[in-house]
């Protein structure tokens, strides 16, 4: 572990306290925690000071004779009332922070964060950047992670497991409201340095907010058990100046325009296969594996699968809507991507399906 260095906006080596706060709320939490820790320590030392004094003085080996008292109403009332008052004293400052954390009104920017197995989707709903939408997946390559029996072939970076391909960008000193939801199971969106953590619940929306006061890159990780890749869906937020943010928004919009596929374009099998391989590698390998063999007992094989060999309408339906452990890809992938991935599975490995090509328009039709 010696070689790992601290990273800004993430955990430090041998860190023993909360991450340095960069929002008011996180600052309040930080102080609240220190306050609680000190009060608890003082009580702890006082209480156990008494106990250890007694242990050292009132022992039989020193010839101490046992007294016989065994109750005292006044003492008992005292040590019920005093802790009660202390507890109230602790709860009062916390109340203020709770109320402040819940106030998500008057946000400058609203971003929807959608948890999916196992990545985050972001949609900028309101404010500057409205309309931007992208997926954000782990960037750390598996060659750094390794797997049982296979040592990693690449040195781990300092941002190991804390880096994504598409970061969320927000301007500094602006109130950002995050709306969370999920597509499949519960995930949870957090940035420790912001003092923000909000579960993303499928079918429901919840919200939280932050106003980062310092530029930089801040990192968190999904914190609700969401299946096998739970440890591999980090959250990275870049806080930058107003100008830089504007530039990012412009760039992102252009990029999106370029990427948007026309669902009515007609593709050849080879084009779709080529595109499909990329889609497959980015989304499907985790379960169905690169060799299409799946994981016996857990994830079905696609190589030789009856669904892949059968009518294409069934496969489109399955990919769109999911089934059991298979997530629904309706919201995550475009018509073109779904058509490409399906076409790829129908023509790859040992598969030679009769209906060997799916056009984006067919997927579009099946969505209805």
């Amino acid at each position: 572990a010696g070689e790992v260095k601290d990273i800004q906006g993430g955990p430090a080596v041998l860190q023993t306290n909360l991450q340095p706060p960069v929002t008011q709320i996180a600052q309040q939490i930080y102080s609240l925690h220190n306050l609680m820790l000190i009060i608890c320590l003082v009580i702890f030392v006082a209480v156990f000071g008494v106990m250890f004094y007694s242990i050292f003085k009132h022992r039989k080996s020193l010839g101490h004779k046992a007294a016989s008292f065994h109750e005292s109403t006044s003492v008992e009332i005292a040590w019920t009332v005093v802790p009660f008052i202390i507890v109230i004293g602790m709860a009062l400052p916390a109340t203020r922070t709770v109320v402040a954390m819940k106030d998500t009104s008057n946000a400058d920017i609203t971003i929807k964060a959608t948890g999916m197995q196992w990545k985050w989707g972001y949609d900028y709903l309101k404010g500057d950047g409205e309309g931007i939408s992208f997926l954000s997946t782990l960037k750390t390559p598996r060659t750094q992670v390794g797997s049982p029996g296979v040592a990693p072939t690449e040195a781990r970076s300092d941002t190991y497991l804390l880096e994504v391909d598409n970061e969320v960008h927000v301007p500094v000193n602006k109130k950002v409201r995050i709306i969370t939801t999920a597509n499949d199971v519960i995930h949870s969106w957090t940035i420790p340095a912001f003092g923000v953590k909000q579960d993303a619940i499928p079918g429901f929306v919840r919200d939280t907010w932050f106003k980062a006061e310092k530029e930089g890159t801040y990192r968190g990780q999904c914190v609700e058990l969401c299946g096998k890749e739970h440890a591999f869906m980090p959250i990275v937020v870049v806080v930058e100046s107003e100008e830089k943010y504007k530039a990012w928004v412009d760039g992102k919009k252009k990029e999106m325009a370029a990427k948007a596929d026309d669902p009515n374009k007609v593709w050849t099998v080879d084009e779709l296969k080529q595109r499909g391989e990329k889609v497959y590698t980015a989304n499907c390998v985790a379960c169905h594996q690169a060799n299409g063999k799946g994981v016996p007992g857990a994830f079905p094989a696609l190589d030789g699968s009856a669904v892949v060999a059968g009518p294409k309408a069934d496969q489109i339906h399955l990919v769109l809507n999911g089934k059991g452990g298979m997530p629904s890809w309706k919201a995550t992938l475009s018509d073109t991507e779904i058509a490409a991935a399906i076409t790829y599975t129908r023509n790859n490995w040992s598969n030679k399906s009769a209906e060997n090509i799916v056009q984006p328009a067919e997927v579009l039709a099946a969505r209805k």
């Binding site: 929807k112 709903l125 709306i179 939801t181 079918g203 429901f204 929306v205 919200d207």
Partner: protein, 286 residues
Amino acid sequence: MSSQHAKAPYYFVPGPSKWPVLAGASLLVTMLGAAGWVNSVPGANIINIVGIVLTLVVLYFWFGDAIKESEGGLYSPRIDVSYRWSMSWFIFSEVMFFGAFFGALFYARSISMPWLADLDHKVLWPDFAAHWGNTGPAGTIEAFKAMGPFPIPTINTALLLTSGVTLTISHHALREGHRAKTAFWLFATIVLGAVFMGFQMFEYYHAYHELNLKLTSGIYGSTFFLLTGFHGFHVTMGAIMLAVVLRRVLKGHFTPEHHFAFEGAAWYWHFVDVVWLGLYVVVYWL
């Protein structure tokens, strides 16, 4: 047989018995079968049924032993008190079990449903309107009609209430030593319970075939069928208990003073009755 109480030990403790461990093993078979069955493992349903049958057989012999001990005069009045405590707390635990489902109904209706329909959730479900008996925000549930209180549930309420009365008549008769009268009213109670179950079955048929109301009808169908279904299951259990008690009455068991098996079954029956009243109001009327 109360004369035999004189012989009863201070607190009778049965000697080694093979029934508990056999009951445990039968339940293992039952549960293995059930786990296979829900996953469509071939043959698992048979294992499950075998397990249930084995469990019932074991319980039959087990209770048989207890009945013999009781009739043999081994149970002192203190044991009677033990049975009373245990039956009361068992019923309490059953109340909590139903509490979970009533709680779910409350939460789904009063908290989740308005939430799903509020302004924030328009992002996900633009067209969802909060009214009970909805087909879910995603629109994946087939349309169905909600179940009203008339006529079956109301008839059923009358049946169960009447059965409470007949059971009480039977109990009074037992306390006065009129064995034939006890048996008759007890029998009447069981018949009322059976008719109740018949109506319930008919109601389910009606729900499935005429209202298109199914277990899969979203949260409404889920809570409706699980609440009424578990209640129906408990009615059946209660009726079986009463049937066992009836058989014992006919065999000449029980005395006017000493008949806790009767009373325990009766408590259970009244509990089932009360749960029904809750259901009748919460599920059918509100």
